[in-house]
C-alpha cells in the first residue's frame, strides 16, 4: 500500500501550481462555475482555456492522435485535484466538450465527426464550446422518459421539444442532445438517439433561467422544427441509451475536483479564523477540525475510483458514493463558512470587488451554489440508489 505519488505526478503537480501562480494570482478564484457571470468573466475563462490548450492540458486525458497527452487516470486525478484547489477555470470547454462530447465521439463518432468537432475542443476555440441537452421538464432523474422528438425527414432530422437546466447553453456553439427517435417502443430506454446540434439553428431558442440569487448559469432550450443534417446523428439511431450511459460514465470524478476545492476552503477559513482571532474560540476550532476530517476523508475516497480505473478494474458504484458524500460535505462546509463570516455573509457574492466582501465572496458563492451541485450530474438520492443497487446489491425498491 502506497499513498505517495510518483516523481512524474509530483512534477506535474508543481507545474500546475506554477500555472496557477502565473494566471490566477490576482485574487481570481473560480469556484464551481463554468460559464462566468459576466462577459468579462467569460472572456477571462476562455483566455485560460487557450493557455491550457497550448499545454495540451485541456485534453490531457485524450489520446495523442486526437491532440491529447494520453495521461494516466492517476495523472488526471492529480490535475483535477489541483484544478479544484486553485480554482482554475475553463477546463471543460463549456460544460461538456473535453469531458464527454470528445471522448464519446472518439468511440461512437464517424471519421468526419471526429475531424470536425474534436480539434476546436482541443484548441480551446469558441467553436469548441458545448452544452448538454439531457433533462426535460418531465424527465429529471427519470432521464429515459425524455420526449423531445427527432424525426427523420429526407437528409435531415426535424427536432421538436424542450430541454431544461441546460448549463452554458447561452455560451455554447454546440449542443450534445439526447432525443427520442422512436415512440413505439416497449422499454422507454429504447428509441433514444444522440445528436450534434448547432446552437445557431433556425427554430432553436435559448431562454435564460436564473437561480434563486439571480445568477444565470442554466437555461431552457426550445426546439421548434429545428432542422439538422442527418449526418449529425451520433452512432446508431435508437441506440442512444447505451451511448448515453457511456457518456455519463465520463462525467464521473466530480468528487476529486470538489475535494481539492474543499481543501482550499479549509485553508482559507483557517486563515480567516487566525486573522480575525476567531481561532481562539473552541467551537470554531472543533468545527474546523470536523470539516477538515471530512474533507480528508472525501479526498481519499475519491482517489479509489481513479486507482481502480488505472488497474483496469471496473468502476461501478464508487463515483456515486463519492458524489453523494460530496454533496453532503459541501452543504455542511459552507453552512459553517457563512456562520463563521457572520455579518459579512450577508454580501452578494457577485460583487466580489466590493470593499466589504471577504474571502473574494467564494464562501457565499458556494453557499448559494451547493443546492445546484447536489442536483447536477444526478441528485444525491439518485446516487444513493445507484450505490444501493450496484454497490450493496440490495433488492430493487
Amino acid at each position: 500500500m502506497d499513498f505517495g505519488f510518483g516523481e512524474k505526478e509530483e512534477r506535474f503537480r508543481t507545474e500546475i501550481r506554477e500555472f496557477a501562480k502565473e494566471n490566477l494570482s490576482s485574487g481570481k478564484y473560480w469556484v464551481m462555475q463554468a460559464e462566468g457571470q459576466t462577459d468579462d468573466d467569460w472572456a477571462f475563462i476562455m483566455s485560460v482555456s487557450k493557455k491550457l490548450a497550448e499545454k495540451k492540458w485541456l485534453t490531457l486525458a485524450w489520446p495523442e492522435e486526437h491532440g491529447g497527452l494520453g495521461m494516466s487516470h492517476i495523472q488526471r486525478m492529480v490535475f483535477e485535484q489541483e484544478v479544484g484547489y486553485w480554482g482554475i477555470p475553463g477546463t471543460t470547454m463549456g460544460i461538456s466538450g473535453t469531458g464527454w462530447v470528445g471522448p464519446s465521439l472518439m468511440i461512437f463518432g464517424t471519421d468526419e465527426q471526429k475531424k470536425t468537432y474534436l480539434p476546436p475542443i482541443a484548441a480551446g476555440d469558441e467553436d469548441g464550446i458545448w452544452c448538454t441537452g439531457y433533462s426535460e421538464p418531465d424527465s429529471g432523474s427519470d432521464l429515459a422518459s425524455l420526449q423531445t422528438f427527432a424525426e427523420r425527414v429526407g437528409d435531415e432530422y426535424v427536432i421538436n421539444g424542450q430541454k431544461v437546466w441546460t448549463s452554458c447553453a447561452h455560451r455554447a456553439k454546440w449542443m450534445w442532445l439526447a432525443a427520442r427517435t422512436n415512440r413505439d417502443v416497449k422499454k422507454k430506454h429504447d428509441g433514444i438517439s444522440l445528436f450534434l446540434v448547432d446552437m445557431q439553428s433556425k427554430g432553436l431558442k435559448v431562454n435564460p433561467l436564473r437561480n434563486f440569487v439571480g445568477q444565470h448559469m442554466f437555461n431552457e432550450v426550445f426546439f421548434d422544427d429545428v432542422r439538422i443534417p442527418a449526418k449529425n446523428l451520433v452512432g446508431v439511431e435508437n441506440n442512444g441509451w447505451g451511448q448515453l450511459m457511456t457518456a455519463l460514465s465520463f462525467e464521473r470524478g466530480m468528487a476529486v475536483c470538489a475535494s481539492g476545492m474543499m481543501k482550499r476552503m479549509i485553508d482559507e477559513l483557517t486563515e480567516y479564523s487566525k486573522e480575525t482571532h476567531r481561532i481562539c474560540d473552541p467551537l470554531v476550532r472543533a468545527r474546523l477540525a470536523d470539516m477538515s476530517m471530512e474533507v480528508e476523508k472525501l479526498a481519499l475516497l475519491s482517489q479509489e475510483a481513479a486507482w481502480k480505473a488505472e488497474r483496469g478494474e471496473a468502476v461501478i458504484h464508487e463515483p456515486s458514493r463519492d458524489k453523494a458524500n460530496m454533496d453532503e460535505i459541501l452543504d455542511r462546509l459552507f453552512q459553517f463558512g457563512v456562520e463563521l463570516l457572520e455579518g459579512y455573509s450577508l454580501m452578494d457574492p457577485t460583487h466580489r470587488n466590493n470593499r466589504w466582501i471577504r474571502l473574494k465572496g467564494m464562501i457565499e458563492q458556494c453557499y448559494y451554489f451547493v443546492m445546484g451541485m447536489a442536483v447536477a450530474g444526478g441528485t444525491t438520492d439518485t446516487q444513493r440508489n445507484i450505490v444501493a443497487n450496484f454497490g450493496l446489491q440490495l433488492p430493487r425498491s
Binding site: M1, D2, F3, G4, F5, G6, E9, R17, A20, K21, S25, I74, Y85, W86, K263, R264, I266, D267, E268, T270, E271, K274, I279, P282, R285, A286, L288, A289, D290, S292, M293, E296, K297, L298, L300, L301, Q303, E304, W307, R311, R321, A324, N325, D381, R384, N385, V387, A388, G391, L392, L394, P395, R396, S397
Partner: protein
Amino acid sequence: MDLALTKDQKMIQKSSREFFKKECPTDTVREIRAAPLGYDQKMWRKMVELGYPGLVLPEAYGGSGGDFIELALLMEEIGKSIVPSPFFSTIQCALAILEFGNEDQKEKHLPDIAEKGATWSFAHTEQHGRLDVSGVETRVAADGDGFVLNGTKLFVPYASSAGRFLTTARIETGSMDNSESGMVVFLVNAKADGVQIETIPTVACDDRCEVAFKNVRIPQNDILGNGEQGATIVDAIIQHSAVLKAAEMYGSARAVFELTVNYTKERKQFGRALASFQVVQHRLVNLLTEIDGLKYLVYKAAWAFSTRNPDRLLNSAAKLKANSVHAAVCRQGMYLHGAIGWTEEMDIGLYHRQTRAMDFDGGASDLHREQIACELEQRTPLFKQVLD
C-alpha cells in the same frame, strides 16, 4: 499511488482472519467475557506463537520487523472478530519502549513481549477521566537510588493479569503551573509492593481496573526516556494508539455493517425484504460511505507511520472518524434490526458493548478535534506558500 496490499500485508490479513475465525467465534467471545480475566490465556499463547505481539518489533528483540500497516491490518481483524485480548494494551507500551527506551530496557522487556507474551498495560488516566496529561496527579519523589510513587490510576485495561505497567507521574520538583512539565513515565512491575488492583465494572468486560500505587519503590533505571520527557511519550502513545485503535474500530464497524446488511436482506415485512425499502437502503449507503472513508483514513495514517513520517492531522482524523462511525454503525445497525437487535442473543450487541472503551482508548473525539485544530493553526496553507 497503489492502494493494493503487498504480499506480506495480504498474508497477515488472510492468516489472522482465518485464525480468529476458527479460534474466536462469537460464542467464544461470550464465554471469555463472562470470565474474570477478560481474555483466554490459551488463545493469547497461540497469538504469541504466531508472532503477533512481536509483529512490528525488530528481529533483534525477538520480533519479525513487520511494518505498521501490517499491524493495523491485524488490529482490523481483531476488531472484526471482537477478540478479547491484552494485545492492544501491550503493543501500546511496547511501541513506547521501542521508541523511548534505552538499550537495557529494550533488551530486557521487548523479547519478553514478543516471545513470551508478557502483558503490559498503560496506566495513565486518573480521576479527571481523560487521556491528556493535565489531570495527572500521581506524584513521584526521588528517594535514595530510586523513586517512590503515589497515586491512583483508573480504567487500566487487563490490569489484573498485566505483568507490568507504563505509568505517568508528576515529579515533585516540577512546577504545577505547566500541565506538561515534570511529567515522567515509569515502567512499573505489577507485583511490586504497594500496587493494589481492583476491578471496575465496565460494559466491555475488558478487565478495567483501578490501580493504586502506595509508596511503590521504583529503581532509577525504570524511567522511560530522558527524565521529564513524559508529556512527549504520552503524546507519542496517543499518536500510534489512535491509528491502531481506529484500525480495530474499522474492522468492528465493517463486521457490524455486514451483519446488518445480511439481516435486512433476509428479514421480510409487508411481503418484501427490509433491504428493498428505499429508506433502509439510503441509511445503509450512508453507513457504507463512512466506513469506506474510515478505511482510507486509517490506511493512509498507518502508511505514513510505515514511512517513518507520521501525519498528526491524519492520525487524529482517523480516530475522530472511527469514534463517530463505530458508534453510528452499532446504533443504526440495532435500529435496523428492530427489537431483536437489542437482545443479547444477537451478535451486534457484542460489538456495541465495546463502543465506549474503543472511543476512549487512543483518544476521545474532543481530544482529536483539538489536535487537528492545532495542526491547521500551525501550518502555512498551500495557497500562501505558492501565491505569496
